[in-house]
């Protein structure tokens, strides 16, 4: 699914990632660990296609419509409601039956009751959950989550635990975390930066 050779990313004078080789097969679960500033977010951004590597080669077998990404920001419009957000992204991602699918996801992530309220009224955890809904809306083959637990509360975290286990069965997952104990059991591959 993902092959990288001598991958590098430079910001100005700083080499955030240097000489990284990756070979991630389909349906693998890659756990990326490392302290702050080790380049986890940068690496995940590169894998998702948001940043271009400054050195090396990268080959990702999933196209834009097959990648789901959640970064540090949930990437949802605060002045819209969850339904409007998912309708927008569902349309952009060409999701068939997007209304039904949005409903299912909102239900699963306990956001159905607030589906018509502005996202700006949500807690950070709720926004993050909506971000996950957005990323999963189009049933992506490659799921990239950058520190997904960081913004979630206890309920949200245990919800994500269950969901990740299920999701990992049928797609490639890349997750970064600076507290990996939670999901170590799910990981088929680990990368320490």
């Amino acid at each position: 699914m993902i092959q990288a050779t001598a991958l590098g990313r430079r910001f100005g004078d700083r080499d955030v990632i240097r000489g990284l080789d990756l070979d991630i097969p389909h349906d693998a679960f890659l756990l990326v660990t490392g302290g702050n500033g080790s380049g986890k977010s940068t690496l995940l951004s590169i894998l998702a296609g948001l940043l271009a590597p400054t050195d090396g080669l990268l080959k990702v077998s999933a196209g834009r419509g097959e990648i789901g990404y959640v970064g540090h920001e949930p990437l949802v419009y605060r002045e819209l409601t969850p339904l409007e957000n998912l309708d927008l992204f569902g349309s952009l991602y060409r999701v068939a039956g997007r209304r039904e699918r949005a409903g299912v996801l909102l239900e699963r992530y306990s956001l159905w009751d607030v589906r018509d309220e502005h996202v700006s009224t949500f807690s950070r955890g709720m926004q993050q959950r909506l971000g996950l809904c957005r990323a999963l809306l189009h049933d992506p083959q490659l799921l990239i989550l950058d520190e997904p637990y960081a913004a979630l509360d206890a309920d949200g975290s245990s919800l994500l635990d269950d969901q990740l286990g299920e999701l990992a069965q049928t797609r490639t997952v890349v997750v970064s975390s600076h507290m990996p104990e939670r999901i170590e059991s799910l990981a088929t591959l680990q990368l320490a930066l």
Binding site: R64, G65, V76, Y77, E84, L88
Partner: protein, 223 residues
């Protein structure tokens, strides 16, 4: 995917994104009221800049010149807000990740900016007619054409400045040299006896810069 389906999908993407921009503005009501107020205040300020003892023809030229300057700066005000949500919440990433054509983002945003400009002009032109000179058809035609040009170029440059360190400061610097031809076209259409050539010039500007903006937007928001 056949051409027809792709085209329909493109139009649908643009419509969805434009609707999103309209909805966001309707909810937050940040940009358009500010533009409305700004343009009227600017016109009042300009009144004090026009000396009283000018010949009628000179006063006409000066007044229209100031109208166009007011409209240009109002447009800049609106454009600095164009990508604010996308920049602050990193939402541009979400849009860029989607499989839609990136130029659709540009087109939707340009349409939204044109809409905001039209709303501002709905107030600005009557105010101008009240304070200065009556507004005639060539002026209105020129304004409609100029809206397109400013929005087209401004949207690209707004995305560029949103990604820069200096943010809003950069947009006027990048845009104003490119806006000089628009000013010339607009004033020419307003004050001269042959507005047709100026309107044609504005149409040329729109066509050329719309094409260039449409095709280069992708490179501004991706790496």
């Amino acid at each position: 995917m056949t051409r027809a389906i792709a085209a329909r999908q493109y139009v649908s993407d643009v419509a969805v994104l434009a609707r999103k921009d309209a909805r966001l503005e309707l909810r937050s009501r940040d940009t358009v009221p500010a533009m409305l107020l700004f343009v009227v205040v600017a016109l009042v300020v300009f009144h004090f800049a026009v000396p009283a003892d000018l010949s009628e023809e000179t006063e006409r030229i000066v007044s229209f010149g100031l109208l166009w300057v007011a409209l240009l700066f109002t447009a800049i005000l609106g454009l600095t807000r164009a990508f604010v949500a996308e920049r602050e919440q990193r939402l541009i990433d979400a849009l860029v990740l989607a499989p839609c054509d990136r130029s659709a983002i540009w087109l939707a945003k340009t349409i939204a900016v044109v809409a905001f400009l039209l709303l501002a002009e709905l107030i600005a032109l009557p105010a101008f007619a009240l304070f200065f000179e009556p507004v005639d058809a060539p002026t209105i035609a020129a304004i409609l054409l100029a809206n397109i040009g400013i929005a087209a170029v401004g949207t690209v440059l707004s995305a560029v400045s949103a990604a820069s360190r200096t943010r809003e400061l950069l947009l006027p610097l990048l845009l104003l040299p490119l806006a000089i031809p628009i000013i010339v076209g607009g004033i020419g259409a307003s004050v001269t006896d042959e507005p047709a050539q100026f309107l044609a010039f504005l149409a040329l500007y729109d066509a050329v810069f719309a094409i260039i903006s449409w095709s280069t937007f992708e490179y501004v928001v991706t790496e």
